[in-house]
């Protein structure tokens, strides 16, 4: 449940990386507000910090300064195992290279996040089948990733991302490895998830056509928002 109409608040966040005792700043005092149901695109050149910002929102990285509050929870306050649990419940990930486990079938890949829940076997199966049907792959359940095309793999990945009905969806260059047609299909899917299912989506992308499908675009350059 959103508070004050904000789903994600990034509050004066700074992040730098250490390399051989040199500090390289990546994000400088960034603040953004993402209302619930928003479809936000983060854009910018290489090294602008957009992926880092995405990682902070998703809870797989921590800022050096500032807060990240998602749906009322300051995730900086959470310890590591709590953060893991939080991610499992609240975040759906979509990666550029799909990141499916090659030894698991489409069904099993989608089922993976559910293994962290207490659902019964039947309940799990129902959720998985629903997710796969939603992304249009109801008939490819037993296939292994290497038997699927890039577009199909990404759809499995999206099914995995939504199977636990997470609070937010986080996508890192979701169409980066796809041809024009498949990219279009994926963006259609994301669009539908946003409009029909009211999912808040934050997406990093290079692709202007992908960015077009989002509601709003923010630009970063050298760790600062430029628009």
């Amino acid at each position: 449940m959103a508070q004050n109409g904000t789903m994600i608040r990034v509050d004066h966040v700074t992040k730098s990386y250490r390399r051989d005792s040199i500090e390289i700043p990546v994000l400088r005092d960034i603040s953004i507000d993402v209302p619930p149901g928003e479809f936000l695109a983060l854009m910018g050149p290489s090294g602008s910090g957009k992926t880092t910002l995405l990682n902070l929102i998703a809870g797989i990285d921590r800022p050096n300064a500032g807060n990240v509050v998602v749906n009322g929870t300051n995730i900086g306050d959470l310890g590591e195992s709590d953060l893991a649990r939080w991610r499992a419940r609240h975040v759906g990930f979509i990666f550029q290279f799909y990141n499916l486990l090659p030894v698991l079938t489409a069904f099993e890949n989608v089922e993976l996040p559910l293994l962290l829940t207490d659902l019964s076997r039947k309940e799990k199966r129902d959720h998985v089948e629903a997710a796969l049907r939603l992304v249009g792959l109801g008939d490819r359940i037993r296939h292994y990733p290497k038997q699927l095309s890039g577009g199909q793999e990404q759809r499995v990945a999206i099914a995995r991302a939504i199977v636990t009905d997470p609070t937010i969806l986080v996508a890192d260059e979701p169409t980066g490895d796809l041809d024009k047609t498949s990219a279009g299909e994926i963006m259609d899917l994301l669009d539908r998830l946003n409009k029909e299912f009211k999912k808040t989506i934050v997406m990093v992308t290079h692709d202007p056509r992908a960015a077009e499908r989002a509601h709003k675009a923010m630009h970063l350059d050298k760790g600062e928002l430029t628009s």
């Binding site: 990682n55 797989i60 590591e80 893991a84 649990r85 419940r89 990141n99 090659p102 996040p113 962290l116």
Partner: protein
């Protein structure tokens, strides 16, 4: 374990060649480990089973084996009268006065000789040792120069055919039968009439006596009586089983110690093989590990997954090794027993304890090999792992 087992099993299967090579290494080590224990067990089994619970052997005090023991007739006659000794249907005490010597015979398989135990026995010997059965021919006649040969010796040595004659101790001895003894030490011996063998070997005294107790519990009472009499004070009594266990101790300890030293040293090699495999598996699946962590699986689940894979691999290898070792049960080895200095044939005996130790051993190897790589997998930083794609 939140991460499904099928993930681990299939990951092993995907890199089949490497998995099989590692499994092979562990199987080999466990095979040797189990075989050594089986051999040591086999020696003890053969020797210990040679003795019976209610039989007692009498030797000269502090003689380590029958070969160096001497018991004179007077002492033998005195012991014979003890009421604690069982009697046969004919009323005679079930006691065998025996003389033990070693002779050389030519081997069939290689150009060489072996030391064979020749045992002069009384007719009661067959009653004392019911496991001894004549399989071919017949028992030697008392008072004759006939001998019977244990089947293990008959198989390995020349000139032992039924009807053939062997020369030793200044006389010719005719082979009239073969006997088995349920795989115990007697099968590696030659038996003849003690009263004929003694003069032939110029031995005026016996090597030992063996008798059957009327009641197995009378042992201490009989021992006290015999020890008390000054004429038999120089003798020493032992339960037959205890005596034979001592006769095999040296041999079985030697085999076990040597075998275990060697096995443990090269088990380190197998563990290293497993470690290399697991490190490679971790390196290969860095992106997978990062993905699972991102999805919310905890570090300990990742640790557990890789440990389970490693242990599973090792148990599989260990099971294979034990299975192969169990085939050794069909093999019999004959060699010189360090304590009696004569030939003894024994086999590889598997026991539940050996199976369990072998599997535990492989478990330990799997644990040792998988631990460090699993820790590396668990400690991975999510971002670094995802970025490595």
């Amino acid at each position: 374990m939140k991460i499904p087992l099928k993930y681990m099993w299939r990951s092993l299967w995907t890199r089949r060649l490497t998995t099989l090579l590692t499994l092979g290494g562990i199987a080999l080590v466990v095979f040797v480990f189990a075989a050594v224990l089986m051999l040591s067990n086999g020696v003890q089994q053969t020797m210990v089973d040679t003795g019976a619970d209610d039989n007692v052997i009498v030797l000269r005090r502090s003689a380590n084996s029958e070969l160096v023991s001497q018991i004179d007739r007077d002492a033998a006659n005195l012991i014979r009268t003890d009421p604690g000794i069982a009697t046969g249907p004919d009323g005679k005490p079930i006691l065998s006065t025996e003389v033990v010597v070693i002779i050389n015979l030519m081997r069939k398989d290689v150009d060489g000789m072996g030391n064979i135990t020749v045992r002069g026995v009384s007719p009661e010997a067959l009653v004392l040792r019911p496991q001894v059965k004549i399989t071919q021919g017949q028992m030697f006649r008392t008072g004759s120069h006939e001998i019977i040969i244990g089947t293990s010796i008959a198989a390995r040595y020349r000139g032992t055919g039924i009807g053939e004659q062997i020369r030793f101790g200044d006389a010719m001895w005719t082979v009239v039968g073969y006997f088995t003894a349920e795989g115990t030490g007697f099968e590696s011996e030659i038996w003849g009439d003690v009263e004929q063998l003694m003069p032939a070997f110029g031995r005026p005294v016996f090597s030992s006596l063996t008798f059957k107790l009327r009641n197995a519990g009378d042992y201490e009472a009989v021992k006290t009586r015999i020890q008390a009499d000054p004429r038999t004070q120089y003798t020493e009594m032992k339960r037959e089983k205890v005596y034979y266990r001592e006769q095999s101790q040296l041999m079985s300890d030697f085999i076990r110690v040597l075998g275990l030293i060697v096995t443990i040293i090269f088990s380190v090699g197998a563990v290293i093989g497993a470690m290399i495999t697991m490190y490679a598996a971790v390196a290969n699946r860095t992106v997978e590990i990062g993905t699972m962590r991102a999805l919310g699986f905890r570090r300990r689940s990742v640790l557990g997954a890789f440990m389970i894979e490693s242990v599973f691999l090792a148990l599989l290898g260990g099971g294979t090794g034990v299975a192969l070792a169990s085939l050794m049960s069909f093999v019999r080895i004959a060699t010189v027993n360090f304590s009696t200095f004569s030939e003894l044939a024994f086999g590889f005996t598997l026991s539940p304890g050996i199976v369990i130790s072998s599997l535990v051993f492989s478990l330990v190897m799997g644990f040792a090999g998988g631990f460090l790589p699993a820790v590396r997998a668990a400690r991975m930083n999510i971002l670094a792992a995802l970025r490595s794609a």
